[in-house]
């Protein structure tokens, strides 16, 4: 077993990046995620593993640095919080268009606008539907613990390289700021330049005599070529749906009602399940771990036994659309959630379930 530590979620992300053998991190400070870069700057992996850590002049610069690094086949990442992530939208669309692997962490705070620095889940649409332009998707992982903040960095890079697609870790201020025990995975050495060239024959590492020049671009002036390219992306997203959906079912076996929630909300719902069960109400929690690809099939399967779903999100209700589509509107799906940085308590969530489905 790996090393046991007490850490903030943000610190776990940073430590995991080093251990995953990341080649570079590029970021710009913003609450509530600045600890990621601060941790890296304190650990100075550039003196140990050789990982590059750079504070960029802006989020726009940071995401484009990620683009440059990824285009060299390097394992690179960035992190930010909501307003900063909005600024990265063009860059993310470029990454998707150019089919580049990268991990982007969003430690979500309440919006819109400057909003509040408190935790929120109101960037679900942006993350899952493509806040940037064009037909693209990110692979979106939603950690619900500090442990997962660490683990998902590693998985994120795996998925990014498997699909040559940007991966988003959609966290929130609560998970970023809280400390929990975390078992750190054992460090993986950074790949050598030779390994990178082998793994990423498409990377721009300098054209040698044995191959054609490599070009990283998302420009396809011929619209038929562009269409073929978009179809290729679509096939990739469908493959994600087939091969890499992740979710968790808690006390679902005999459940008659279901909370569907991710991230912090899922933690809260877990406690709400306990409260409900203590009162003899058969509730389960279905936690999507990948928000895209959404675990639609599993949820549909489960829905046959379910009388009603409460989608619990720290937002006005965004994931609820995916839930409805997943269960094909066959059972009632309702939303409950606080927003704007307010966090619902387990008790509130339980009360919402009761008042929605059990006549108060």
């Amino acid at each position: 077993m790996g090393e046991l530590k007490l850490m903030k979620g943000n610190e776990a992300v940073a430590e995991a990046a080093i251990r995953a053998g990341a080649d570079g991190y590029f970021g710009y400070p913003i609450t509530p995620q600045s600890e990621i870069m601060e941790y890296l700057m304190t650990e100075k992996p550039y003196e140990t593993t050789g990982m590059v850590v750079l504070q960029a002049e802006s989020e726009v610069a940071a995401i484009n640095m990620v683009y440059g690094g990824a285009a060299c086949g390097r394992m690179v990442m960035t992190s930010s919080s909501s307003p900063g992530i909005s600024l990265k939208m063009e860059g993310i669309s470029y990454l998707a268009g150019a089919e580049l692997p990268a991990v982007i962490v969003n430690v979500v705070r309440g919006g819109p606008g400057l909003g509040t620095i408190q935790p929120s889940q109101s960037d679900y649409f942006q993350a899952t539907k493509g806040g940037g332009h064009g037909d693209y998707r990110m692979y979106v992982l939603a950690p619900a613990s500090v442990q997962e903040m660490s683990d998902f960095v590693k998985i994120g890079f795996e998925m990014a390289f498997k699909y040559l697609n940007p991966v988003m870790i959609l966290s929130d201020g609560a998970i970023g700021q809280m400390m929990e025990k975390v078992v750190l995975f054992d460090p993986i050495p950074r790949r050598t330049p030779e390994e990178i060239e082998k793994q990423c024959p498409w990377a721009t590492t300098g054209k040698n005599a044995n191959r054609k020049h490599n070009v990283i671009t998302s420009l396809l002036l011929d619209s038929h070529e562009q269409e073929q390219h978009v179809f290729k992306l679509r096939d990739k997203y469908e493959r994600m749906q087939k091969e890499d959906v992740k979710f968790e079912k808690i006390q679902c076996d005999d459940a008659e009602f279901l909370f569907v929630a991710y991230g912090s909300s899922a933690r809260i719902c877990q406690k709400a399940v306990d409260i409900a069960r203590a009162q003899g109400i058969k509730v389960g929690l279905f936690r999507p771990i990948t928000l895209f690809p959404f675990p639609s099939e599993e949820l549909l399967k489960l829905s046959s036994q379910i009388k009603g779903i409460l989608s619990v999100e720290m937002s006005l209700g965004q994931m609820i659309e995916d839930i409805k589509l997943a269960v094909e509107c066959k059972i009632p799906v309702n939303h409950f959630g606080r927003t704007g940085g307010v966090i619902h308590s387990p008790g509130e969530v339980f009360e919402a379930l009761k008042s929605t489905y059990l006549g108060g």
């Binding site: 960029a56 002049e57 610069a61 484009n64 640095m65 390097r74 860059g91 150019a98 590492t205 020049h213």
Partner: protein
């Protein structure tokens, strides 16, 4: 002597470098982008660093540079080439990295990325094609458009009261300690082309010596955008652009030391 006696392989004194791909250049007839490309490639060829070079193309007419230059290349989002190149160079410090950008790309939308890459003293080469206009999008005003000069978004000429003065970004950058070498050249006459090549050579040699940013501005025509023939546009450039953007070295460290 008969011409066919001259035209023999052994008599070749100049031909297009092999570092071009087979694709014909997509630029308008007479556009300086092609010449700038060729000088760049000749330098890479002479330094024998094709296999160690990564170039960053901008958004602008030269977005398609990657189709023509037979080296590994990335196409950056509009204005972001210096940020992209920063990561490339830091992750592969033993490679030669350059950016190639137009004036809209480098001096308008990309101002922050340009200034900060220069200020950090990133160790790569920046090539800046200043044609005083947005060529690719059909001739809109650029930050470098001259006072009174017409463009599609200043059809009555740039009015400095409303639109501001042209920005001499090159002179600004030259003042940053992270910037090592700054020069302004052109590619419209044989002499100018030769000087540009020399400048590019210095810029890449500096990179070998880890000197920070070497910045080569090339004042060039956009005959389409300017709505002139190529030769008219080159003449216009000499008469109008050069007085405002005088050719020559702007920051030469060797001289500084004296």
């Amino acid at each position: 002597m008969d011409i066919k006696d001259i035209i023999k392989p052994e008599n070749i004194v100049y031909q297009k470098t092999k570092l071009f791909t087979e694709k014909p250049l997509s630029y308008c007839p007479g556009c300086g982008h092609g010449t700038a490309h060729r000088m760049l490639l000749e330098v890479l060829e002479e330094m024998n660093i094709q296999d160690k070079t990564v170039g960053i193309a901008p958004v602008g007419c030269s977005v398609l540079a990657y189709e023509f230059l037979d080296i590994d290349m990335q196409q950056a989002a509009h204005g972001r080439a210096p940020a992209v190149a920063t990561a490339v160079k830091r992750l592969m410090p033993d490679k030669f990295v350059f950016t190639y950008q137009g004036d809209g790309d480098l001096a308008a939308i990309g101002t922050a990325e340009t200034i900060h890459a220069c200020n950090r003293g990133e160790n790569f080469t920046m090539i800046f094609i200043n044609n005083g206009i947005y060529g690719m999008t059909g001739g809109q005003m650029a930050p470098t458009t001259l006072p009174g000069m017409r463009a599609s978004t200043c059809p009555f000429g740039r009015d400095t009261e409303i639109m501001g003065n042209p920005l001499k970004i090159t002179e600004l950058l030259a003042q940053l300690p992270g910037v090592y070498y700054v020069t302004r050249q052109a590619v419209h006459t044989p002499n100018a082309v030769r000087k540009t090549k020399k400048a590019l050579r210095i810029a890449f040699e500096n990179q070998k010596l880890k000197k920070g940013i070497s910045f080569v501005e090339i004042v060039s025509n956009c005959n389409s955008g300017w709505k002139m023939t190529p030769n008219q546009s080159n003449k216009w450039m000499e008469d109008n652009m050069f007085p405002f953007y005088p050719l020559g070295d702007i920051k030469v460290p060797q001289l500084e030391k004296v």
